[in-house]
C-alpha cells in the first residue's frame, strides 16, 4: 500500500518538474543572451517521461514514472527583424528562443490536471490505508 503512495509521488514529482520547466520556458521566452554572457537565444526545455523498468524480483504491479529534462533542438528559433536591437545580426534580425507561449500554456494546463489526478489518487489510497487501520479496533 505504501508503494502505491510512492508511485503517486513519482507522478507528482514528474508533473511538478514539467511545470517548473514550462515556467522557465515562459520566463525566458525573449532571452537572447545565455548564462555565460554570450549572444545566444535560450533553448526551449522539455520534460520526457518514461515508465520505470520493472524489477524482476517483485511481482508485476504498478509502475512509477521517471521524468527527465531535455533540450528542444528540433524547433527552429524565431527570427524577428529588429535592426536597433543590440543583439541583432548583420541583416538586422534578432534570433529569439524557440519558445511558443501558447504551446507552453497548453502543456501547463495538462501538467496541472495530471498533478491533480495524482493527488486524488493519493487521497483515495490514504482512505484505503486508514480503512485497513480501522481493523485494529
Amino acid at each position: 500500500m505504501f508503494r502505491t503512495l510512492d508511485i503517486s509521488a513519482s507522478g507528482l514529482m514528474a508533473q511538478r518538474l514539467r511545470m517548473d520547466t514550462i515556467a522557465g520556458n515562459i520566463a525566458q521566452s525573449n532571452t537572447t543572451v545565455n548564462e555565460e554572457g554570450k549572444v545566444a537565444p535560450f533553448q526551449r526545455r522539455l520534460v520526457t517521461f518514461q515508465a520505470q523498468q520493472e524489477s524482476s524480483s517483485q511481482p508485476a504491479g504498478g509502475l512509477a514514472v521517471e521524468a527527465q529534462v531535455d533540450l528542444d533542438t528540433q524547433t527552429p528559433f524565431r527570427k524577428v527583424h529588429q535592426p536597433g536591437h543590440p543583439h541583432a545580426d548583420a541583416d538586422g534580425n534578432v534570433t529569439l528562443p524557440n519558445v511558443n507561449t501558447i504551446t507552453e500554456f497548453v502543456n501547463a494546463i495538462e501538467a496541472g490536471r495530471s498533478y491533480e489526478a495524482n493527488l486524488s489518487t493519493m487521497e483515495i489510497t490514504k482512505g484505503m490505508i486508514q480503512g485497513a487501520f480501522k481493523l485494529l479496533g
Binding site: 500500500m1 508503494r3 502505491t4 508511485i7 503517486s8 513519482s10 507522478g11 514528474a14 508533473q15 514539467r18 517521461f49 518514461q50 515508465a51 511481482p59 508485476a60 504491479g61 504498478g62 509502475l63 512509477a64 514514472v65 495538462e110 501538467a111 490536471r113 495530471s114 489526478a117 495524482n118 486524488s120 489518487t121 483515495i124 489510497t125 482512505g127 484505503m128 480503512g131 485497513a132 480501522k134 481493523l135 479496533g137
Partner: protein
C-alpha cells in the same frame, strides 16, 4: 451475497478481496502516474479471473461447512478450519495479483495509439476503493462479532 459474506469462515475471502483491491490500487496509481508517458500501456489486474476465483471459493466454503448458521462451532474447532483455509488460499494464486496488459483496441485520439482515459482510471480507482472498504467493513464486523462472543462468555 451479504448474508453469505457475513457468515464466519469467509474471513479468508474478505482478506483476499482486500488484498486484491490494494494491489489493484497500486496498478491504477501507476497508470495515473504514467498518464503522460508516450507509448505506455494501461495495465490492470485480472479482475474477471479474480471474481471467478472468489465465486468458486464461496461455493467451496459453503460446501465445506454443513451448517453456516453456527459459525462459533467451526471457529472453535481447529481441525475443521485449518484444512479448508489451506485449500481456499490455493484458489488465489499469486498470478491473480500480478498486473497484465489487457488487450485493447488501439485508439486514434493519441499519436502513440494508447487508449488512455484519466476518467475511466479514476472511476476504476474509486470503485476499487469502495470495494476494499466493503471487504474491510465486513471483516471488521466479523471480528466484532467474534470479540462480543468472547466477552459474553467471560
Amino acid at each position: 451475497m451479504l448474508s453469505q459474506a457475513l457468515a464466519a469462515g469467509n474471513v479468508n475471502l474478505l482478506k483476499q478481496a482486500a488484498r486484491f483491491a490494494e494491489n489493484r490500487q497500486e496498478v491504477l496509481a501507476g497508470n495515473i502516474a504514467n498518464i503522460d508517458t508516450p507509448g505506455y500501456k494501461m495495465r490492470d489486474l485480472p479482475v474477471d479471473s479474480f471474481r471467478a476465483a472468489l465465486a468458486t471459493a464461496m461455493e467451496f466454503e459453503r460446501g465445506q461447512r454443513p451448517t453456516s448458521s453456527s459459525p462459533g462451532l467451526t471457529l472453535s474447532n481447529p481441525g475443521s478450519t485449518v484444512q479448508p483455509i489451506q485449500q481456499v488460499s490455493d484458489l488465489f494464486p499469486d498470478q491473480l495479483f500480478e498486473a497484465i496488459d489487457p488487450e485493447r483496441q488501439p485508439g486514434i485520439t493519441f499519436q502513440d495509439a494508447g487508449n488512455r482515459s484519466i476518467e475511466s482510471q479514476m472511476l476504476g480507482m474509486t470503485k476499487n476503493a469502495v470495494y476494499q472498504n466493503f471487504a474491510l467493513e465486513l471483516l471488521r464486523l466479523q471480528y466484532d462479532q467474534l470479540s462480543s462472543a468472547i466477552s459474553e462468555q467471560a
